[in-house]
């Protein structure tokens, strides 16, 4: 890449942002009702909305809900437990940094590491493979993330990794959970803002059957402030028109067919199976697991992971009050949670939404969803 500054400026141009915001206010207010509720399903969208202060520019009538778009947050407790137990058995674990502090039944990986387990944080799965290459001992990559991230995991398996490398997959597949949210009886969602990265892989065509089934529009949007504003203007227009369809508001990255090479990579290694998403529901076809032909690289097949050793302990009581599930389903906000900002803070998270940099609670906490009283009083 030569010099990215011009591209950055174009997608963050304040005067263009103002115009788009004005358009958004105009379209939403012309509907003459409140609230108009839309959901995005991507932690990166929420990060950008918070970082650039976009929410304060949204019209009052528009409710932009963050759905189950944080892969760390929806990693289920038993999945974390599997990694914690493996680490406790002396197996070296490599994982993305966000996964370290996600609470399991009793411990997080950070707790296990404090007690002497070997847990490496990696930026890329390619780095985890390197760790295995430099060693003779087993290295298990605890793999989280949606289909976009699963493509990377699949890619390293297709490149002849060393035999001491294996994968503990907690990868998730987004399209099925949109069905779940659309079918929730309490849902107020009138349209979805779909994540540009995932759609870069799958293509926008994948949302057409969803729109057909649920009569809810889907707009694919990128992650720069202007991308998000443009996506919301487009979504509000389609809602106002009342003829649901898929709109691609991220044409520089997303095509109808998507990235076929990446799709082939993904589906040659993974298969979708049903499973629980933390706090949400059992999601049919929502989990990505290694296909049988990859059994020798599947940590669940290679190791005897005995979770029962954890279950002698009583579950933490605070976690039962956690409302992460309702927050991710768009039914509640962090400010509705009695733990938010008091018992549950980023330094001492109760729920996974306070752990991940893509979690709603962590983002709200970081960017002032709740006033920082200590700062005010000091």
């Amino acid at each position: 890449m030569i010099d990215g500054s011009w591209a950055e400026l174009k997608f963050r141009d304040p005067s263009r942002a103002k115009e788009l915001t004005r358009a958004l206010v105009g379209v939403v207010q012309s509907m003459g009702r409140s609230p108009v509720s839309v959901m995005h399903v991507c932690g990166s969208h929420e990060q950008a909305i918070a970082k650039f202060g976009l929410r304060s520019a949204f019209p009052r009538e528009l409710d932009v809900i963050m759905g189950p778009g944080c892969p760390v947050c929806i990693t289920d407790v038993p999945e974390v437990d599997e990694a914690v137990v493996l680490a406790g058995q002396g197996v070296r674990i490599a994982t993305y940094g966000d996964m370290l502090r996600v609470p399991g039944t009793v411990e997080s990986l950070a707790d296990a590491r404090a007690k002497g387990a070997r847990v490496d944080v990696v930026y890329s799965v390619a780095h985890a493979v390197e760790l295995a290459r430099q060693s003779t001992e087993d290295v298990v990559f605890f793999a989280s993330g949606f289909e976009t991230t699963a493509v990377a995991t699949a890619a390293v398996l297709l490149r002849d990794p060393p035999s001491n490398f294996s994968v503990l997959s907690a990868h998730k597949y987004i399209p099925p959970v949109m069905e779940i949210v659309a079918e929730m009886p309490q849902t107020r969602v009138e349209g979805f803002l779909a994540a540009g990265h995932a759609a870069t892989i799958t293509g926008w065509g994948i949302f057409e059957p969803f729109v057909e089934r649920h009569r809810l529009p889907v707009v694919v949007a990128g992650f720069e402030p202007l991308d998000i504003l443009a996506g919301l203007v487009s979504l509000a227009e389609v809602i106002r028109e009342g003829t649901p369809r898929v709109v691609n508001a991220y044409p520089r990255c997303v095509t109808r067919e998507g990235n076929r090479a990446a799709q082939e990579t993904l589906w040659s290694v993974f298969r979708p199976v049903g499973g629980r998403w933390r706090g949400i529901a059992h999601v049919p076809n929502g989990n990505l697991r290694l296909k049988d032909e990859w059994a020798s690289f599947d940590a669940r097949k290679r190791f005897d992971i005995d979770l029962s050793s954890l279950w002698d302990y009583a579950p933490a009581t605070l976690s039962q009050e956690c409302i992460c599930g309702d927050i991710m389903a768009g039914i509640s906000s962090p400010s509705d949670c009695p733990l938010f900002g008091s018992e549950c803070v980023p330094e001492k998270p109760v729920g996974a939404c306070m752990v991940s940099s893509e979690g709603t609670c962590k983002i709200w906490h970081e960017y002032g969803g709740l006033p920082d009283r200590t700062g005010v009083l000091a």
Binding site: I2, K10, G26, S30, P251, R252, N259, A262
Partner: protein, 83 residues
């Protein structure tokens, strides 16, 4: 570029990324979309212009709709002059 590895400049930070699953062949100077250390899309320069054109179109549509809505509102309120 070195086989399936490439050095990418992310607004000043240099990082090695993998090219296993990029949708089209890339060459030095190209823009890419990165995800967890893997290029998942070569971004053709002309399509950056396409996105900017999309913003313009959205603005034009919203603008004319708002004006139309204003006129409709005025007519309903009995203030429209029909012209």
């Amino acid at each position: 570029m070195d086989g399936l590895n490439a050095t990418v400049d992310f607004f000043g930070v240099r990082r090695t990324i993998r090219l296993d699953v990029v949708d089209e062949p890339v060459s030095p100077g190209d823009y890419i979309l990165n995800h967890v250390g893997f290029a998942i899309r070569r971004i053709p320069e002309e399509e950056i212009g396409e996105t900017l054109a999309l913003y313009e179109q959205l603005l034009r549509e919203a603008e004319s709709d708002i004006m139309a809505a204003d006129v409709r509102g005025e007519i309903e309120a009995g203030r429209g002059d029909g012209g």
